[in-house]
C-alpha cells in the first residue's frame, strides 16, 4: 500500500496541500459498507482474542509503526508522562481551533490563553488527577515557558500547513477517532488526525461517487520523517474513522504532512486500503503477542 507524494518544491505549499486535501474523491469504497464493517470487526476482534489473557490493546500509530518495524521495543514500554513534547499537540490543537475560529490572532497569543485557562481550571480544582492542567499548574515559570514554546512551534506548523480559507466548510480541528469494538473485544483502534474537512463535490464524477453525503478528508501532521510504514499509519486514521462511524461515508483520503522534512503523502481510501490496513493491524497484534 503506497501513497502519492506531493512535489516538495511547489509553492505556496499550504495551497497545494489544501487543494489535494479537499479535492473531489478519486476512488470509492467499492463494496457494501455494512459487509465491510462486519468483516473487519470480526477479523480485528478475532485477532484480539489471540492476545495473552487479560490483555487489551489500543492500537495507535505509534503501536502500529513500532510493532511492524521494531516489535522488541514494545516489550518495555515507557510509562506515559507529561512533557513539553507530549503536551504540545493538545495545547496546539486548542490554540489552532482558537485561531481558525477567529477568537485569537496568532499561535503565540492562543497558546498563552489556552495555558492560562488550563492553569486557572486546575487552581479551581476542576481537573482530575494526572490531567494536563494539573501538571501545568505544578510547573514553575521556567518549565511552563518551555511547554508554551513547544506548543507555539507545533501550532504554528499546523496553521502554516493549510490554506484555511480554502477549506469549504469549517473544519473539525482535532479529529481523532476511537473504535472500541463490540462487547468483549480486546482491541481498540485510535486514528489520529489533526483536521477533518469535507471534500468537494465533483458533478462530473460518476454518480456512485456523488450520491449521498460528501465524504470527509483527514489531515494528519506527524513528527520526523515518513517511516517505511507511513502509508499504513495514515490508513489507520481512515480505518478507525470508518469503524467508529460505520453509518457515514468512509474518509475519501488521508493526507499526511511531515513539517520537519517538508514531505506530504496522499492516501486515497477504498475498500482494499481499509482491508490492507486491518491486515497490518492484525500482523502488529501477532508481533506483540509473540513477545510473550
Amino acid at each position: 500500500m503506497t501513497g502519492t507524494s506531493l512535489s516538495p518544491t511547489r509553492l505556496p505549499k499550504a495551497e497545494a496541500l489544501t487543494e489535494v486535501l479537499v479535492a473531489a474523491p478519486s476512488v470509492e469504497l467499492g463494496e457494501a459498507p455494512d459487509d465491510l464493517y462486519r468483516q473487519l470487526a470480526a477479523a480485528l476482534a478475532g485477532a484480539g482474542s489471540q492476545l495473552p489473557p487479560a490483555t487489551a490493546l489500543r492500537v495507535d500509530g505509534y503501536f502500529l509503526r513500532t510493532a511492524l518495524t521494531a516489535p522488541e521495543q514494545l516489550s518495555s514500554p515507557d510509562p506515559f508522562e507529561w512533557s513539553p513534547r507530549t503536551a504540545r499537540r493538545l495545547l496546539g490543537l486548542a490554540a489552532v481551533r482558537a485561531c481558525v475560529s477567529g477568537s485569537e490572532r496568532t499561535p503565540a497569543d492562543a497558546v498563552e490563553h489556552v495555558v492560562s485557562a488550563a492553569v486557572e481550571d486546575a487552581r479551581r480544582g476542576s481537573q482530575r488527577a494526572g490531567s494536563l492542567a494539573g501538571w501545568l499548574l505544578s510547573l514553575a515559570g521556567g518549565g511552563r515557558a518551555v511547554v508554551r514554546a513547544e506548543a507555539v512551534t507545533w501550532a504554528t506548523q499546523l496553521l502554516a500547513a493549510l490554506d484555511w480559507r480554502g477549506l469549504g466548510a469549517p473544519p473539525i480541528v482535532g479529529s481523532d477517532q476511537w473504535w472500541d469494538g463490540p462487547a468483549g473485544c480486546r482491541v481498540a483502534l485510535r486514528g489520529r488526525s489533526e483536521v477533518r474537512t469535507p471534500t468537494r463535490r465533483d458533478d462530473r464524477a460518476p454518480r456512485s461517487l456523488t450520491d449521498g453525503p460528501t465524504p470527509s478528508a483527514l489531515f494528519t501532521m506527524l513528527g520526523g520523517r515518513p517511516s517505511p510504514v507511513a502509508a499504513l499509519e495514515l490508513g489507520l486514521a481512515a480505518l478507525a474513522s470508518f469503524m467508529a462511524r460505520p453509518k457515514e461515508p468512509s474518509p475519501a483520503r488521508v493526507v499526511g504532512w511531515w513539517p520537519q522534512c517538508g514531505r506530504a503523502l496522499v492516501l486515497p481510501i477504498d475498500g482494499p486500503t481499509l482491508r490492507n490496513t486491518a491486515d497490518a493491524v492484525i500482523s502488529a497484534l501477532r508481533a506483540y503477542a509473540a513477545l510473550g
Partner: protein, 284 residues
Amino acid sequence: MTTATSPKAIPTTSSPAGASCVLGELRGDLARRPLVDATLAGGLREWLEDGVAETVGSFYDRTRPLVVDKRALGTALGPAAHRSGLSIPLARGALIDVLFRQLVTTGRVDAPMEDGLDGLRVDGRHEALLSYIEALGAADLAALSEEVAEQARVLVDRWPNLASGWLPRTQERITIPLAGGAVVLCGVIDLVVGVPSSGRASTGLVEVKSGRRMPEHRADVHYYALLETLRSGAPPFRVATYYCATGEIDAEEVTEEVLIASVQRTLDALERIADGLARVGGPQ
C-alpha cells in the same frame, strides 16, 4: 579535495545592538527579499543526492542512518572547536537556549538560573547535564550562575519583543532524509520568524550563541539556511547569529552562493566521514 568556505560577503555586524537595531537586522531590506527560484531547492537536493551516492553510497544502511548535524560537519572538517562532553560552556549554552526560548515566548525572564534549570528539567532529556550542574563545586556553580544571569540581563535589555504576527517559533527541528533515509541531515534552529513562502523569500533564521564569536558560526547558519531551503522549497531571506554575551548580532542575506557553498561544505564533510567509515570497515 577542497574544503568549501563560506562566501566572502561580509555579514552585517552591529556593535552591541539595541532592540530596534536587532529588529532592523532581522527584518533586513524588505525591497531586497528575492523571488524564489522554483528550481533551486530541487537542484540543491539533486546535487546532494549525487554527492551522497558517491561518498557514503557503499555504507548505505537505512536501518541505521548516518545522522549529520552541524557538530558532525564541524568535527569532520576540523580542527573543530566544537565541544564534546559535559562542560561549563555546554551547561551555559543549554541554559541560555532555554532562557532565550522563554524570553521569545513569554517576554520575560524573572530568575535566570532557576528558570533555566526548570526549563531543562521539564524537558526530560537533560538528566546528565542537570546532574553535572548539581555536582559542580560551589565556586564553579556561582560562576556559572553569574554568567547566566549576566547574559540573561543582556538578552532582556537588548533582545526585541517580536510581534506575534512574525510567527516566532523556537527550537524548530529540520530533518532532511537523503538516499532514501540512509543519510539524514538535521538541525534544530533556535528561532524562525516569518510566514511560509508564497513565492518570495519570507522566513528568517536566528542561531543564539552564549560563547564568543567563532568563524564556523557563519557556516552553521548557512547550513541551517540550506536545510530550510530543502524542507520548504524556499530559501530564508535572512540568517543571523545573536551573541548573548555581548548583544551583538551578525546578520546576512541568503544568496544562491551561500547555499551552494553550504552544499559543497556538507559534501566535503560527508566525504571525510565516509573515509573514516572506510578505515574502520563501515558503520560501527
